[in-house]
């Protein structure tokens, strides 16, 4: 496990030195502008706007990092051949994959936490108080983090066996598909062909359901999120990540490097 941690910490260091965390500056500017504008114009919906905007920004920025850097985790090392000397060390290939994943997950956690702090600051600025209802926002941020971890796992899986561009497209595609699971179920109910209908149903359950993690509405309106959902989403993300990562590790262990 220490080997995994070594790789993870180095991955984190790489992200920092690659100035990934500078996105926080951009985020901070956006939140500040929003907080100030909202303070000027609206009546009674400051909470909704700030929370929606903040969570959307955290999600989008997080997704960009997850997809682009997630794909690069493996493909960059192979292309640049930095991997070669590393694999000659007593490091198993699966430990490498797990370490890379953990490193980016750690980076995202730090990044997201910082953005959450910024969001709460902006919220405090417009509302002049933080109440118990605002814990919903924290939960929403946590869910975003779970979602990002899953996206990273998928990005790594694809980058283990396709080109970087294809990996990005597949990951993004799966993410978007996972947002429309609800629609898929609705469509399936009205389908003429029962076989196709059942197939669609199966697909809708197997696809990573990213809608699970979307509680922006609840958070924006300050409604509390049930603890059961928190537990379930955590297990879902963990289980799905485990499946994806195990497959990625298996594929990577067999791969001939060029």
């Amino acid at each position: 496990m220490t080997r995994v941690a070594t790789v993870a910490l180095n991955t984190f260091r790489e992200a920092v030195r690659d100035r990934v965390l500078y996105n926080l500056v951009f985020f901070a500017l956006v939140m500040m502008a929003a907080a100030i504008l909202v303070g000027q114009i609206s009546i009674g919906i400051e909470q909704i706007v700030i929370v929606s905007l903040g969570l959307s920004a955290i999600s989008i920025i997080g997704l960009l990092i997850s997809v682009f850097i997630g794909v690069g985790l493996v493909s960059k090392e192979i292309d640049k051949r930095t991997l070669y000397a590393l694999l000659a060390k007593p490091l198993r290939r699966w430990e490498f994959i797990l370490g890379k994943f953990a490193g980016l997950a750690l980076t995202l956690a730090v990044n997201t936490a910082a953005m959450a702090a910024g969001l709460f600051l902006a919220l405090f600025y417009v509302k002049h108080s933080i109440g118990r209802a605002d814990t919903a926002v924290l939960v929403a941020v946590y869910f975003i983090l779970l979602k990002l971890a899953l996206v990273v796992a998928l990005a790594m899986l694809f980058s283990c066996f396709t080109t970087p561009l294809l990996a990005i497209l597949f990951t993004a595609g799966l993410y978007i598909a996972g947002l429309f699971v609800h629609e898929m179920r609705g469509l399936q109910a009205g389908m003429i062909d029962p076989v196709l209908g059942r197939l669609l149903r199966w697909i809708s359950y197997v696809l990573p359901n990213f809608e699970n993690f979307d509680v922006m509405g609840a958070a924006a309106h300050g409604r509390l999120i049930p603890g059961m959902l928190i537990a379930q989403n955590t297990i879902y993300a963990t289980l799905y990540c485990a499946i994806v990562l195990v497959v990625a590790m298996a594929i990577f262990s067999q791969r001939n490097l060029k």
Binding site: E183, G186, G190, Y205, V206, N209, E211, N212, V215, M216, G217, A218, H221, R223, I225, P226, M228, L229, Q232, N233, I235, Y236, L239, Y240, A242, I243, V246, V247, A250, S253, Q254
Partner: protein, 296 residues
Amino acid sequence: MSSKGYIALILFVILGFAGVWRLQERIDVQQRAVETEDDQVMLRSSKLVKGLSLEYAPLVADIYWTRVVQYFGNKHAGQQLDLRLLWPLLDVTSVLDPYLMPVYHFGSMFLSDAAPRGAGRPDLAVELLERGLRANPDEWRLYYDLGFVYYFDMKDYPKASAAFYEGSKNPKAYFWMKTMAARIAAEGGSTETSSFLWQDVYNTTSDPSVKENALTHLQLLRAQEDCKQIDAAAAEYQKQFGRRLATMSDLVLSGLLLGEPVDPLGYPYVLSEAGKAEINSESPLRKKWIKAPASK
């Protein structure tokens, strides 16, 4: 990897997904409890959505339109009366893609139809159609839809006539629209006009639910006419025999009616307490007999 390894991997993946499936079902239950109507619309401000869509506005419009259809479909199926979100959805969609015709056509229908079939907001239907006409001045069908709304839902005959007239100016329009304009201007509302319009809808539409709706309207109009005729016969009966009509069969026996009067679905008409003809309560048509909203 050894074959044992492959088997273990596949087993793990299958079991994993089985777990995911079970879990997802539980999560769906939880999510339904958390979410509300408001959350489903995505964003409401049409300007904001348009801005966010960049050059993909028409694509986002399509997504919104799919939501409208699903939403209306779901609500329809669930017999829920609350259609508050319909207008915001249509509003955003028409701003995102002003050239999306079904939005105006079906949208105005959903909006103007009285509850429980629709939202019962013909005023919003008019606004939607006028917006459509501003963006698509060559679309005579929108005038047709507009005329429809004014005539049936708002009973505003001058405006209905004007709409049909404007539409008729387009050489591609239905040839009868000009005549229709004139008739409505002259007579206001009449069963013949209404029947004609609904018949036209029935003949030209390919959407089965719209066809069914048109058929229902035609049947109701028929029933309306029938009841009027029965009432006229009843008045005649009163004049002839000096007393009020007691049962429907009396009319037949007296020779004023040729046979037992039945509605378009085959159910015999009955007399109300006040002695007026009515649709039989057993008839499915009875349930669709909606008192028209008071005209604006």
